[in-house]
């Protein structure tokens, strides 16, 4: 089946088998290996990307279900060589050890901050409940997300303008 998907700002048109998972399409067809696969049970969140402005687990979506949609992966966050504030905060706060969960953690954190720009510790932990980390004990991840929120708050400088890329359909719940 032929699908057309915009991934990290570039439009792709490809023939895919209906059974192909979105994560396979991203990794194996488009070479976007920044998005990783950590489990076989839809639990770990390592494969998290944004589909039309919402975080989703790309191992639990078919590529054909993304036809006509816009996908943002971890590879699409940095602009002109400058890290997204959430990426920078993970770096600054040492919010990783092995780094395998990091792409999914960052994509989910960006989603969380778009919904709640100033989350307290509990809100961060709940917002990241679909992402598992086996190394850090989550302490520095929580710190990083709150640090990013601080840097992205209104008036914090031009970076702040790059945070919320959601379309108006987000609020209306359309797809």
């Amino acid at each position: 089946m032929r699908i057309t998907v915009t991934v990290d700002g570039t439009e792709y048109s490809d023939d895919v088998e209906p059974r192909m998972l979105l994560v396979q399409y991203l990794r194996e067809r488009l070479g976007k290996t920044g998005t990783v696969i950590g489990c076989d049970t839809s639990n770990c969140g390592a494969c998290t990307v944004h589909l039309d402005g919402h975080s989703i687990k790309s191992c639990s979506v078919l590529a054909v279900q993304a036809d006509g949609s816009e996908v943002t992966t971890i590879e699409g966050l940095a602009r002109d060589g400058t890290l997204h504030p959430v990426q920078q905060a993970f770096h600054d706060n040492h919010a990783l050890q092995c780094g395998f969960c990091t792409p999914g953690m960052i994509m989910q954190s960006v989603d969380l901050l778009a919904d709640n720009p100033d989350p307290d510790e509990k809100a961060v932990r709940e917002g990241l409940e679909g992402n598992l980390c086996r190394c850090t004990g989550y302490q520095n991840i929580v710190k990083a997300v709150r640090d990013a929120a601080h840097h992205m708050r209104p008036g914090a400088g031009p970076e702040a303008e790059r945070v919320d890329e959601r379309t108006p359909s987000h609020a209306a719940g359309g797809e």
Partner: protein
Amino acid sequence: MIPANFDYVAPAGVDEAVRALAEAGEDAKVLAGGQSLLPVLRMRLAAPTTIVDLRKVGDMRGVREDGDAIVIGAMTTHYEVQRDPLVAEHAELIKLATDTVADPQVRHRGTFGGALAHADPAGDLPAPAVALGAEFVIAGPSGRRTVPAAEFFVDFFTTALQPDELLVEVRVPKHTGWGAHYEKFNRVAQAWSIVGVAACVRADGGTIAEARVALTNMAATPVRATGVENALVGQPANAESIKAAAAHAAEGTSPTADGNADERYRKHLAEVLTGRAVAAAAGS
């Protein structure tokens, strides 16, 4: 793992979807959010020949008001239900239960109708639907029919839906002004209910005038705790009467034993969690 091969269709309307199901025959499967179905396909626990994806069926999505009920489209996502003003005002119990489902990514994709059609005994939405007396609107080759919640859930992962039928929408009688609470017990984040209790209470000047209580994962299907409801009505909304009523919670239940809990522990949980849920719903 990767699913076995299948044909894929994405019809644009309810009638078209029903026709597609009929044409594809017995081994067709409906795809909503895919958050239960895709894991099943990936594990190869099922291998349907045709997938009928409902993502383009626009009139199955969203919430509307219809007299003394609100109508929730089957394709409305958990994320949308959580934020819908009609649900918050007239069926807060459903919002509160949906808040506890899975994690944000799954709630962005998973749908209200999919969670009900899947009928997992540990799923969090069947019990609120039973507690509120919801009605299920089903479309099939011979037209539409409406099934009450008590008859919709038939057995483990089994509903009144036939293979050639679609769940279109769910009518939920308004419970405006009722207090509500969903008390879920699980071990870790993002996990299914070991036991859950859905409670909805209408208090009248400190007295409980009406109560609706239903239990998650205390049998193959959600259980309406009528013993608790009857014991609550007419009583003061205080700790003592709530505790006495909650002692009826496990009556008539037949919970399974698994790695999380045996039958006796589940019955104990049902009583404790019912006490908490009713107290929170009654605001006491």
